[in-house]
């Protein structure tokens, strides 16, 4: 048995021994241990080093508020820095390492910082490191940065998985201690859907370390009985190892469940952590109370811990944290702990009570020094004595541990997360939760009802109140009876004067009482300033132990009540939550949904390479064997379309079908150009503006019947345009008779483009495709040979004779394959986005590279599409604003490099020849550029100030990012077939 393990008692399983290691040293603990209790059982007191002064530190608490005992648990990609040993459940094979020390925990070079402490007090860095001026960046800052942080994060890919889940309940009870268990069982017996969440691995909270009897049973036994009853009820869900970390709007709580953090090797079929979003009709916060450390000289030496922690280690874990323990208290807890120590045979050299009249009975034979305080401690890596001062006299007392108790603070974190401030209760000497309204109530010790009987009763009554509020009634069950003694009142003690060494307020961040004094002296007395200036409360424990003492000290220094000092702001997360848990499964390839076109399989069969385009994977190009690189493939595809025929998947374009008597009027108000008189069977290119007069999207409108239209959108704005139309129909003009629906997913759509397109299609379509029967911009339903109903549009985005054929999505691949076969004789070629882009640049057609949310129709050379006839359309009024019609706006032009071999690239800017680069001289920018295999040189679309007046001018294409400058001629933005002979062919 380990040296400090007690022979009897506790909730550990002496039959189940667990192997673990700390800094390479192998040890044994028991099932039911935390890492901290197991370390203490093995006599390990020194577990870490503080942030700033690298002072040796030990375990202070037995729970979530632990500031010191932070270790790295696990190895490799599973290592987790800054894990609190006090809540880490021991498992076989657990590996822990200490942090922030070099070369070793017991000998840490960084401790030299302690000698410099007079110069590196609170806020020191704001006053220094400024001389010489250049040194901050080069010398000082790197040094400071290197010293940053506690544990090391490996930043390797996480081998484990996470998930998220919603839960709904009538009543959420947070905390399974005395009040929480009673609240849960009261509501559960009445049939409410109850969720009981507790951060521990064993429900029971403080009852698990309690020595009083409840209903004549040991408190942990009572807890077990209640938990067993709850488990037997179908309307109760108990979430252990679950921390409720946040209270959000609409009474939704965020919680994280550590599903497999307590096992050596997680099972891969289950997550290691699960985040719950719990929507609770009502919630009860029964999170207990936190014992305050005392602020006295040398209060940070290993072996000094809170009295409750000492009791918990004895009673719950059967571990004696020392052999001679001095108790320092300002209230009853110290006496309780002394009794626990004496009961298990640990010597208590003295109880030092700050009160002049100690109101509690001391264990037999234990000396009480009342009206006294510890002013200093001694020891190297562990405390070995204390200096007690009473009425001006000092004495030293040898010990190997100190139990300190500064009274308790209700844990009200969650109740204060939504903007409400806690209030100071003089009666409790503590901040209590604000009035949070009926949805969340606070119960038990968290509400200031710290005595066991009161906590049990408060749990019942808060549950009954919540039920009444929900219109549910129940007969209150008889209250359990307890023999727990109510202690005397604690007397606030924020700081023990006369300290000869540092008195720490925030252990982890090394903030001392003197630092707070300095902050006050320098004008940082406001609690939020003091926090930020000294970093008090900003460590991984977020001030769970330190905040209240800092408030008390600042109040004392200013001679005001803590009420006037107030608290800092409580914010999520109650305790830190991993990225992994909050991210759940949405990571890597699952970070956002993946969409594939109905022609995806066909394109794959044709050897397509795919590229991300928003949620879609679109075919980028179709390389063939022997082709050397992208350019060769794309050139081939482009030339095939220009010379013969190509086929391209355009299914991802948004397709919205519009019906209704007012459909024409509706569309006429949506588009900047006239749509009203579009004949049935015809399509038209259309521009949609935003209300500010800027182009939003482009697409086509086809009139399929008198009151039936089909509009297309760009791929990127398929969802956006639908929403825009819904806004217009529902909010702007709710009285128009119009209905529409997205049919984007219902149709597979392919563009068949090139001089041979008609010849290919004619083999399929049961219709006259001659130019007279089906001219450019014709649109309508057709039947394919074999009887499949399809839609055909003579629309071109390549400048060629082109058709877009839409067939029901599930027929897409079959039709595409059939077209490929039929087109083989004509040299049909599958082409992708890359070729599509070249084809449209050659014709000067725009995409979102040009429609970038800042361009007007006129900027794009589409000024004619801004109807002056229509009384109203979205964007009409604001498109006439001065700045949108100014003569020096950038207009879209074409660029041809003068040197035929020189490329231009998108993103380059434009300068007049000879002009120095400057923001003032900036003439514009290149939006799209490519090599045109038809023109035989690079071409580009660009925006140039007053560009259309400047055709023929030479301009410098300035690409400093690539170190390139190319002279180009400004030309009309059409490089192929300027008279549209081919489209209309």
């Amino acid at each position: 048995m380990s040296p400090h393990r007690l022979d009897n008692g506790g909730l550990v399983d002496r039959g189940q021994s667990l192997d673990f290691s700390f800094d390479g040293r192998r040890m044994r603990g028991l099932a039911g241990d935390t890492l901290a209790s197991a370390l203490l059982a093995n006599g390990i007191t020194l577990v870490g080093r503080s942030f700033k002064y690298h002072r040796p530190r030990g375990i202070v608490t037995a729970g979530a508020s632990e500031p010191n005992a932070l270790v790295t648990i696990g190895t490799g990609a599973r290592s987790e820095p800054n894990t609190r040993a006090t809540v880490a459940e021991l498992h076989d094979g657990l590996t822990a390492k200490s942090q922030n020390r070099w070369p070793s925990l017991s000998f840490d070079i960084g401790a030299v910082n302690g000698l410099l402490s007079p110069m590196i007090s609170a806020g020191f860095y704001y006053k220094t490191f400024m001389w010489p001026a250049a040194f901050w960046e080069k010398v000082y800052e790197p040094i400071i940065r290197r010293a940053a942080g506690l544990g090391k994060a490996v930043l390797e890919r996480d081998p484990d998985t996470y998930e998220k889940s919603w839960a709904h309940c009538d009543l959420l009870v947070i905390g399974a201690g005395a009040a929480g268990l009673m609240a849960a069982v009261t509501a559960a017996r009445a049939g409410l859907d109850v969720i009981l969440a507790d951060e521990g691995f064993r429900p029971g909270g403080g009852l698990l370390g309690e020595t009083a009897l409840i209903d004549n049973q040991a408190a942990p036994v009572f807890a077990t009985h209640v938990v067993d009853e709850l488990k037997s009820l179908p309307n109760v869900r108990i979430l252990t190892r679950t921390t409720v970390f946040g209270w959000y709007d609409d009474n939704v709580f965020g919680a994280v469940e550590r599903v497999q953090k307590h096992v050596a090797e997680p099972v891969s079929t289950r997550p290691v952590e699960r985040v719950w979003r719990i929507a609770a009709a009502r919630a009860i916060l029964a999170s207990g109370a936190e014992e305050r450390p005392l602020v006295f000289g040398g209060n940070d030496r290993p072996g000094i811990m809170t009295a409750r922690a000492v009791s918990t280690y004895i009673n719950r874990y059967a571990v004696a944290p020392g052999r001679a323990v001095v108790v320092f208290t300002n209230g009853p807890q110290g006496y309780q702990t002394a009794a626990d120590l004496v009961r298990v045979g640990v010597s208590v050299p003295a109880i030092v009570d700050s009160r002049t009249e100690a109101g509690d009975p001391a264990p037999k034979g234990v000396r009480v020094i009342a009206g006294a305080g510890i002013v200093d401690t001694s020891g190297g890596l562990r405390v070995d004595g204390v200096t007690v001062e009473r009425a001006g006299f000092r004495e030293t007392i040898a010990c190997d541990a100190v139990a300190m108790s500064g009274g308790v603070s209700p844990v009200i974190h969650l109740a204060c997360q939504r903007g409400l401030k806690p209030f100071w209760s003089e009666a409790h000497s503590a901040f209590l939760a604000p009035e949070t309204g009926p949805h969340l109530t606070v119960a038990g010790a968290a509400a200031g009802h710290g005595a066991l009987a009161a906590a049990l009763a408060d749990g019942v009554s808060k549950a009954l109140a919540a039920m009444a509020d929900l219109g549910r009634r129940a007969a209150p069950a008889p209250l359990p009876e307890t023999d727990a003694r109510e202690g005397s009142a604690a007397a606030p003690l924020w700081y023990v004067p006369g300290a000869r060494s540092k008195a720490f307020v925030d252990f982890q961040n090394d903030v001392t009482a003197d630092d707070l004094g300095l902050a006050l002296r320098e004008g940082f007395g406001h609690i939020e300033h003091a926090k930020r200036y000294t970093t008090n409360g900003m460590a991984t424990d977020q001030g769970k132990l330190s905040n209240i003492n800092a408030i008390g000290i600042l109040a004392g220094m200013q001679g005001v009540s803590p009420a006037q000092v107030g608290t800092t702001t409580f914010r999520p997360f109650y305790t830190p939550v991993s990225f992994g848990a909050l991210a759940g499964t949405a990571r890597d390839m699952h970070a956002s949904p993946i969409r594939r076109s109905p022609l995806h399989g066909w394109a794959e069969g044709e050897g397509a390479r795919f590229v991300e385009a928003g949620p879609w994977y679109r075919s980028s190009h179709f390389p063939r064997a022997g082709e050397k690189g992208l350019a060769e493939t794309v050139n081939r595809e482009v030339l095939a379309v220009r010379a013969a025929v190509g086929i391209c998947d355009v299914s991802t374009l948004g397709k919205i079908e519009v019906f209704g008597a007012d459909a024409a009027e509706f569309l006429n108000r949506l588009y900047s150009n006239a749509v009203l008189k579009l004949p049935v069977g015809r399509a038209r290119y259309g521009l949609m503006l935003r209300e500010d007069g800027i182009v939003y999207d482009d697409g086509t409108v086809s009139r399929l019947g008198e009151t039936h239209y089909l509009v297309t959108t760009t791929t990127a704005l398929a969802a956006g345009v639908l929403s825009h139309m819904e806004y217009a129909a529902q909010v702007l003009w709710p009285d128009l008779d119009v209905r529409f629906v997205s049919v984007s997913d219902q149709w597979a759509q392919m563009s068949i483009a090139g001089p041979k397109a008609r010849a290919v299609l004619a083999q399929f379509v049961e219709a006259d495709l001659s130019d007279t029967a089906f001219p450019a911009l014709a649109a309508g339903a057709v039947t394919l040979k074999g009887g499949l109903r399809a839609r055909l549009f003579r629309i071109s985005f390549s400048g060629e004779l082109a058709y877009e054929l839409a067939v029901p999505a599930s027929y897409g691949e079959a039709v595409a394959e059939a077209i490929m076969q039929a087109g083989r004789a004509h040299g049909i070629t599958a082409y992708g986005l890359e070729a599509l882009n070249v084809l449209r640049i050659e014709k000067g057609f725009v995409t979102h590279a040009e429609i970038d949310g800042r361009s007007t129709p006129d900027d794009l050379g589409l000024g004619k599409m801004l109807s002056t006839q229509k009384p109203d359309f979205i964007g009409k009024r604001l498109s006439s604003r001065y700045g949108l019609t100014a003569a020096d706006r950038m207009q879209m032009i074409g660029l041809l490099p003068v040197d035929r071999d020189k490329p231009v690239r998108a993103g380059a800017h434009l300068l007049r020849e000879g002009a120095k680069p400057s923001t003032l001289n900036d003439q514009g920018w290149v939006s799209s550029a490519c090599y045109s295999p038809v023109v035989g040189r690079h071409i580009a679309l660009a925006f140039l100030k007053s560009g259309r007046e400047r055709y023929g001018e030479r301009i410098v294409v300035w690409d400093r990012m690539h170190g390139e400058e190319v002279v180009a001629e400004v030309v009309r933005p059409v490089f192929v077939d300027p008279d549209n002979l081919k489209i209309n062919g």
Binding site: W166, D249, D250, A279, Y727, V731, P734, D872, R877, R881
Partner: protein, 92 residues
């Protein structure tokens, strides 16, 4: 509101199903209204600290635009109504 929204058509649903559009109070001016009225409509916001009416679309549900009446400080929701009905009421 910031966690759940009760859609009058679909019931109480998580916020992620909705997309917020913005202030629901400005009425689109008549085409003949002044330049100032139009600029105000598009660019000026009352931005109240307190009660506000806001358009939210239930994009992953009924796709209706809803008017959520809520508090911008507490996020308490006072009412949720259908946007078309709200518009008709405003226009009447």
């Amino acid at each position: 509101m910031a966690s759940l929204i009760t859609c009058p058509h679909c019931g109480t649903r998580p916020k992620e199903e909705f997309a917020v559009r913005g202030d629901a109070t400005p009425l689109r001016p008549d085409p003949a209204a002044s330049d100032e009225a139009w600029a105000d409509y598009v660019f000026v916001r009352a931005n109240p600290r307190g009660r506000t009416f806001e358009h939210w679309q239930h994009v992953a549900g009924c796709r209706r635009f809803l008017v959520v009446e809520r508090d911008t400080v507490t996020h308490e929701v006072y009412s949720v109504t259908d946007g078309a009905a709200f518009s008709r009421g405003r226009m009447a």
